[in-house]
């Protein structure tokens, strides 16, 4: 099912949307459609808030709310009438306790917050590795998202209806890639990763989570995974990243499957910059941002510094 046209910005006149330009494109679209979204004319970094907000809390709901508050509050990202695409990590048919997927409570809290900020529609989806229906149900995310009023989408059908080929500006591994139209055509894109050890990429957090927005054969991306991850993050930028690091999988990721692999870290990290969110999360694993190839590439390519950024931290 394609997004209903009246809710989404018109994209017909644009054949190429690379999302570094996505912001510009949205601005243009806003100008063209007269005050429809006048706020898009304003520079985004206006208002208060740090680049990265870190909350230590055993209460997931409060943690998510506080973390977003630290980076300017949900109102900075979601305005009245917005269509929001939320992309948790739902890669596997795995129950929530193993933390292979984003915690359903994180998803529900974010969806609630979007609606409270006036979102007209919230879509939640991931291109799963396991069977999509099984994964949506077992992860608990389908129930949580629908309870909060979001619409779960199945995006495993790689059709032109669901995916659009975009050119990756300065792409090294990816010159072009198929990207989910709901991501491209929504007003706001919120990235909701879970933090896990990952055998090929080192860690999977926010930047790696964007592998789920593509229609490509992403197994192939593993052949040059750091380039592929940084390329897709250059092509598509999330407005807000909220990392579920309530308990992190420290071994045998990304599937895990044993509670003994988990470490309670009781942390939620929010950032408008995905590279900074990931950089902050690496410390929980006892690593440094520079340890991850894709983070080094992100900084090189202009996604912001991964070592010096403004951060606020609170404990609840």
């Amino acid at each position: 099912m394609a997004p209903s046209a009246d809710l989404l910005p018109k994209v017909d006149s644009f054949t190429i949307i690379s999302a570094v330009n996505r912001r510009d494109f949205l601005r243009t679209a806003a100008i063209a459609s007269f005050g429809l979204a006048a706020r898009r004319l304003l520079p985004l970094d206006i208002g208060s808030g740090a680049q990265v907000g870190v909350v230590r809390s055993t209460n997931i709901e409060a943690g998510v709310k506080q973390a977003v508050e630290l980076v300017g509050g949900i109102g900075r990202y979601v305005r009245r009438g917005d269509v929001v695409a939320v992309k948790p990590n739902i890669a596997f048919n795995s129950p929530p306790q193993y933390k292979a997927n984003t915690d359903p409570l994180v998803v529900r809290t974010i969806v609630d917050m979007c609606f409270q900020a006036g979102a007209s529609k919230v879509y939640v989806f991931d291109r799963t590795l396991s069977n999509p229906r099984l994964s949506y149900v077992t992860s608990g995310i389908e129930r949580a998202a629908e309870q909060a009023g979001a619409k779960m989408l199945y995006v495993d059908d790689v059709s032109s209806k669901l995916y659009k080929k975009i050119t990756v500006a300065d792409g090294v591994y990816l010159k072009e890639t198929l990207v989910n139209r709901y991501i491209l055509e929504s007003d706001v894109f919120i990235n909701l990763p879970v933090a896990k050890q990952h055998s090929t990429a080192g860690l999977t957090i926010g930047m790696k989570n964007l592998m789920g927005i593509t229609g490509d054969n992403r197994s192939r991306w593993h052949w040059d995974i750091h380039q592929a991850i940084s390329d897709v993050n250059m092509a598509v930028n999330s407005d807000l990243t909220v990392v579920d690091a309530t308990a992190i999988m420290t071994r045998r990721g990304p599937t895990g499957g044993s509670l003994s692999y988990l470490k309670d870290t009781d942390t939620i990290i929010a950032s408008s910059g995905v590279a900074q969110a990931d950089a902050e999360t690496t410390y929980l694993f006892g690593k440094k941002p520079e340890d991850l190839g894709y983070l080094r590439l992100a900084e090189e390519k202009g996604l912001g510094s991964i070592v010096s950024y403004s951060r606020k931290e609170i404990s609840l």
Binding site: F92, N93, S94, P95, L129, S130, N131, R133, L134, V137, T138, H198, S199, T200, N217, S219, R220, H222, W223, D224, I225, R252, P254, T255, G256, G257, S258, Y261
Partner: protein, 473 residues
């Protein structure tokens, strides 16, 4: 019994058939949804299929006993009132009745029909089923009405051929399958011979109207109803001009004296009932069926050929599986990942129509047990999740001549990443070699004792052709 009562009983029977057919259709349609996870009661609670079911829980035993007691008490009520295939046959019979009347060689006019009446093949088939049910010859599987109705509903080729056969049968006689062929009907027929509540003729004007009995159970010449053939349908009894039908125990029914024996011997004290006469013959037939069953088992073409097929999760005893699997293909229809496929004849007749695994975009999901939950007779054993997750389906092997890590010297490790086993059945080792950009090369290695053959690695391997495949152990 008064005509009004008999008419009402007929209507009640038709309602019962409609309800059970609707139940069957509902269950069938619901079971097309992989997430419905429904056990088919028509297969689960069946006396013949019960013989193939390693799980004998109280519910199944109670239901099977109830069905047997029903047949002992009231005759072949299952056939006339419940059986969905029987109802379908009755509908076909009704629709094709104009053609049947015009058919010059319809069974009723067929000169040798008496032969069929005296020696219905069904008993022979029942005998064969009772023997082969404990062997690998798939006889029950291709004779059971409750499995055939599923094959017809699934619109499988073999199901449609069977439907064509039923249509052909309908041109000759009503309820031909039920009367002469069905082994389940024969089983209930055997029980119906016990003289309890049965339909009997208590008065007769020899008008011959009961000739319309669809199974030719009523015979006004002998003034007797063959209980093993009677489907308790109350289809024509209301037409009896002397209201001569009684339904009850033998004493209460007050049977009429058979006319034939009177005229023949003139001795009314020793009437020889035709049903009693046939009893011995039918016994011989059943025994002959045992022999046929034994023969079929002994025949090489039905014996299992050694296969290298991957079976659904939990199947550890291939021989037992081939023996018990009903070929109802519920697992094929229910698998959420669509990896259970139908086996053709290439692996021998014994494996024909059994399910096997072929991994596509997905492997066998680590947390999924749908095939085990829907298998009606537990030919696919129902395990605990922990058991399922540790029972090997097969074993994965890496083809180092195809794997890009070994061949092209660049890092991949998708197989290791997606392996769902917590301790990972694929791990990597650094051999000291380096990739083109100077990274240490990480070679995937199998940990055979940890591998459960779920095929997720095979389904996600980006190499072409796929460099890791699951093989039967």
């Amino acid at each position: 019994m008064r005509s009004g009562t008999l008419k009402r009983l007929k209507i009640v029977r038709i309602i019962s058939q409609a309800l059970f057919f609707a139940l069957f259709l509902f269950i069938f349609i619901r079971s097309l949804d992989p997430f419905a996870v429904l056990e088919n009661p028509f297969l689960r609670f069946d006396p013949l299929i019960f013989l193939t079911n390693p799980e004998a829980n109280l519910l199944i035993i109670a239901a099977v006993t109830a069905l047997l007691i029903l047949a002992i008490l009231l005759g072949r009520v299952f056939c006339g009132w419940i059986c969905p295939l029987g109802s379908l046959i009755e509908a076909l019979d009704f629709l094709l009745s104009p053609l049947r009347r015009r058919n010059p060689i319809a069974l009723r006019r067929f000169p040798k029909r008496k032969l069929l009446v005296r020696y219905p093949v069904s008993l022979l088939l029942l005998g064969a089923v009772l023997v082969t049910v404990f062997t690998q010859a798939p006889v029950l599987q291709f004779l059971h009405p409750n499995v055939w109705i599923i094959r017809i509903a699934s619109l499988t080729a073999v199901g449609l051929v069977f439907l064509g056969l039923l249509l052909l049968f309908s041109l000759f006689a009503r309820r031909l399958w039920c009367t002469y062929l069905c082994p389940l009907g024969a089983l209930y027929g055997l029980l119906a011979r016990l003289p309890l509540f049965r339909l009997r003729i208590s008065a007769c004007s020899s008008c011959g109207r009961c000739d319309r009995c669809p199974t030719e159970a009523a015979n006004y010449h002998d003034r007797e109803i063959l209980a093993h053939q009677c489907l308790v349908c109350f289809d024509y009894e209301a037409g009896c001009p002397v209201e001569g039908f009684r339904f009850g125990l033998p004493a209460a029914a007050g049977c009429a004296t058979p006319a034939k024996s009177l005229t023949k011997s003139g001795d009314a004290s020793q009437p020889v009932s035709p049903s009693r006469r046939s009893f011995l013959k039918h016994g011989v037939q059943l025994v002959a069926g045992f022999a046929v069953g034994g023969l079929l088992t002994g025949l090489g073409f039905l014996r299992r050929r050694v296969t290298n097929l991957l079976r659904p999760p939990g199947v550890v005893d291939e021989a037992r599986f081939v023996e018990n699997c009903l070929r109802c293909l519920q697992c094929v229809r229910s698998c959420p990942n669509r990896i259970i496929k139908i086996t053709g004849g290439e692996h021998g007749l014994a494996s024909l129509y059994t399910p096997h695994l072929e991994f596509g975009p997905y492997g066998c999901d680590y947390f999924c047990q749908v095939c085990q939950q829907v298998c009606p007779n537990r030919a696919i054993p129902l395990q605990s999740l922990e058991q399922k997750q540790s029972t090997p389906i097969g074993i994965a092997r890496i083809d180092e001549t195809v794997c890009v890590v070994y061949k092209e010297k660049f890092n991949c490790l998708v197989c290791e990443e997606v392996c769902p086993v917590p301790e990972k059945a694929i791990r990597y080792e650094q051999s000291g070699e380096r990739t083109a950009d100077g990274q240490p090369l990480r070679e995937p290695r199998m940990v055979p004792e940890a591998c459960i053959g779920c095929g997720i690695c095979e389904s996600k391997c980006p190499a072409e052709p796929v460099a890791i495949r699951v093989f039967a152990t």
